[in-house]
């Protein structure tokens, strides 16, 4: 095995006549944190959704641990246990407590022992500072707490890679930090991640590699340091300049 | 004669249609009155007075709790007996459906006004609009947009409920149907199947377009 968790080759994705990617290739190595940035509508979220089988693809191949993904219902269930995904709007299940949300997949899908899974859930909750919220319903949590719960809900499946889709976009500014801290910690511990975000400072700190996506193509790719301080393309320069306010 | 031929024999079809018109006419008159009284009561319900609110609520609940057919009986047999007033079946129907329709309209008006977000009131006031200007230019247009499909739904319900008035002796489409069936008892013994089937479709032909319209308006709103 090449050490690639995810390998995308010549991906083609279109909604009807509207082509998102005509030919996109990308790899994520073991333990690597890759951050994708780019303007709205560039296809960042669509890419993550394709990886998790939420969107059918029209061409190319996605390899997970060297094996091509199949899109049948049964194989999707298996794939999704290997690929964790966290969404912008957390989407915790409102009819379940924090703990029930977290245990649903390990107990019902992976058929793990409930007690053992519960122990792990509690450890993970401890780690993200939510130990005492285990029996709370999502309604009673702040946005940041919900999002941390959603991360734990994915982590407990021991996925090979975690897809994070703008997970701080719906949060109040003061809650962004507590969530990013958790992600930063995961990154340090060598969890492979593919992150879509608009938090540039975070991207620079957490990423091993940054990918700049625009118009369905990778325009730039490289070390965060290099990308953020001396972008190669005019498009990336303009994009980045929009994040710093200066009176013109 | 075959049963289905009865429907179109002589003036039968015209008679059925004019019977249908009786129910539709009563519905339209009742809806008209309902809108007038319903708006007044509905606006009273959005007001501040707790007493008026409570009274309106009680009126609404009582009217709703008892089946319309019972109200028709109370009006047609009871009120006439008690007051000595000689109400025709049609008049009794219009009164009952107006009392009922006004209650339903009032509730729709109330919820339509309350569905306009508070910040709309606030930003209207912040712009220095007077109370009248606020309601007339800002709130009412939004409320009416929510209200319109519901009023059409109410009209559909009204037309369907009007089918009950044959039971207090109004000669409407079901009654005409029965007369047609009875008149052809010997020539076409199976006429009932066809005549009642035709009436079923007639009601459908009236109510279905209204339902569609209401649904379209709701969809456009969203």
């Amino acid at each position: 095995m090449s050490g690639n968790i995810i390998e995308i080759r010549h991906l083609r994705k279109a909604f009807g006549d509207h082509v998102i990617f005509s030919d996109l290739s990308l790899t994520v190595k073991k333990g690597e944190t890759v951050v994708i940035i780019g303007p709205s509508g560039c296809g960042k979220s669509t890419l993550l959704r394709c990886l998790n089988g939420l969107e059918p693809i029209q061409g190319g191949t996605i390899y997970l641990n060297g094996k091509p993904l199949e899109y049948g219902r049964k194989s999707l269930v298996k794939i999704r246990q290997k690929i964790g995904m966290v969404f912008q709007n957390y989407d915790l299940f409102p009819n379940m407590t924090v703990l029930q949300n977290i245990l649903l997949s390990p107990v019902k899908v992976q058929k793990r022992n409930r007690r053992e899974a519960k122990e792990e859930a509690e450890q993970l909750l401890e780690k993200v500072g939510l130990r005492e919220k285990a029996d709370a319903y999502p309604d009673a949590l702040s946005g940041g707490q919900k999002q941390r719960t959603a991360i734990v809900r994915s982590l407990i499946m021991h996925p090979d890679i975690l897809l994070l889709d703008e997970i701080t976009a719906a949060l109040d500014p003061e809650m962004v930090h507590e969530v990013l801290d958790v992600v930063m910690e995961l990154s340090r511990n060598g969890t492979a991640m593919l992150i879509v975000t608009h938090e540039m400072a975070f991207a620079e700190a957490a990423a091993d590699r940054v990918i700049f996506l625009d118009g369905g193509r990778i325009l730039e790719e490289g070390e965060p340091q290099a990308f953020f301080h001396s972008p190669q393309t005019e498009r990336a320069r303009r994009f980045l300049s929009a994040f710093t306010y200066s009176e013109s | 004669m075959e049963g289905y031929e009865v429907i179109f024999a002589g003036s039968n079809f015209i008679r059925l249609l004019s019977g249908l018109w009786v129910t539709v006419r009563i519905s339209l008159i009742s809806i008209g009155f309902s809108l007038i009284f319903g708006f007044i009561v509905g606006i009273a319900m959005t007001g501040r007075s707790p007493l008026i609110k409570a009274l309106c609520r009680v009126y609404l609940e009582i009217v709703r709790m008892i089946p319309q057919l019972v109200w028709l009986f109370i009006m047609y047999f009871g009120v006439t007996r008690m007051t000595g007033l000689n109400l025709s079946g049609e008049a009794a129907s219009v009164i009952v459906f107006t009392i009922w329709g006004a209650a339903e309209t009032a509730d729709l008006v109330r919820s339509a006004f309350q569905s306009v977000p508070v910040h709309q009131f606030e930003s209207g006031r912040a712009l220095g609009l007077s109370q009248f200007q606020l309601y007339f230019f800002v709130i009412l247009p939004q409320a009416v947009k929510n209200l319109f499909p519901n009023i059409i739904n109410l009209a559909t319900r009204m037309i369907k409920t009007t089918a009950l008035i044959s039971l207090i002796g109004v000669t409407e489409v079901l009654k005409v149907g029965k007369q047609v069936i009875d008149a052809n008892r010997y020539d076409a013994p199976d006429a009932a199947l066809w005549v009642y089937g035709a009436i079923f479709l007639m009601y459908f032909a009236v109510c279905f377009p209204l339902s569609l319209l209401s649904r379209r308006l709701t969809e456009r709103k969203e």
């Binding site: 998790n52 939420l54 219902r73 269930v77 298996k78 999704r80 964790g84 995904m85 969404f87 989407d91 915790l92 299940f93 009819n95 379940m96 649903l104 997949s105 019902k108 899908v109 992976q110 319903y137 809900r153 994915s154 499946m157 | 709790m65 008892i66 089946p67 319309q68 057919l69 019972v70 009986f73 109370i74 047999f77 009871g78 007996r81 008690m82 369907k160 409920t161 009007t162 089918a163 009950l164 044959s166 039971l167 079901l174 149907g177 069936i181 013994p189 199976d190 006429a191 009932a192 199947l193 066809w194 009642y196 089937g197 009436i199 079923f200 009601y203 459908f204 109510c207 279905f208 339902s211």
Partner: protein
């Protein structure tokens, strides 16, 4: 007010109230089942069945119950299908109520957002598990208020049964009005017995809804 007349005929009203409740109850239950099946068909967009369900709901929602009953009770025998009054009442109420229930169930299922379903799927839940653990529990909560309203609506609609000679409350009242002059007393009894049936149901439902709004079940 003639009290002795009222006490004399109270048992008769009680008996017809029992019939109203029984036929209304059976019809409502069957309407719930019909509605559930139709909502399922509509939700999963099952081909062919979906079109049939659409035609059924439109026919049912856009015609009055009394016309449906006349067709069943007076029309169908001419085609060789003879149904008793009770059976007509039950079938009519099921036919009418099924579409209302279907609409409520369907709307409730639709309140569960696509992102909730995707979130469940991304956790590896199968289609069945997604329904079982996320969609149905949430939809069930959303369905309660409209279903309660439908039940009360259907119980009120039973008043039409008298038109096909079912010996319900309305029938008894009409009968007595025809025989005696105590119209006022009879009408008061009629309204009182309907309230006796509908008020407890309505109070029970509003308690249930309040309870559900206050906390999780």
């Amino acid at each position: 007010m003639d009290w002795s007349f009222m006490t004399e005929y109270a048992p008769l009203f009680a008996e017809s109230a029992r019939i109203t409740v029984m036929i209304g109850g059976i019809g409502t239950l069957l309407a719930l089942v019909t509605g559930l099946i139709c909502a399922w068909i509509m939700y999963f967009r099952i081909p062919l069945l979906r079109q049939i369900a659409a035609v059924y709901t439109e026919l049912s929602r856009n015609t009055p119950l009394i016309v449906q009953l006349f067709f069943l009770y007076f029309g169908l025998p001419k085609a060789g299908v003879v149904l008793s009054s009770e059976l007509c009442g039950i079938i009519g109420l099921t036919f009418l109520g099924g579409s209302y229930m279907a609409e409520s169930f369907y709307a409730a299922l639709k309140t569960v957002s696509v992102s909730q379903i995707e979130s469940a799927e991304s956790l590896g839940l199968s289609r069945y598990q997604t329904m079982r653990y996320t969609v149905i529990p949430q939809a069930a909560r959303a369905a309660v208020p409209p279903l309660c309203a439908n039940v009360i609506f259907l119980l009120k609609e039973t008043s039409v049964f008298s038109a096909v000679s079912l010996a319900d409350l309305m029938f008894t009242a009409k009968d007595l009005i025809g025989m005696y002059y105590n119209t006022t007393e009879i009408l008061i009894m009629l309204a009182a017995f309907y309230l006796l049936i509908l008020l407890p149901v309505s109070v029970l439902f509003s308690l249930l809804e309040r309870r559900m709004n206050r906390g999780r079940i």
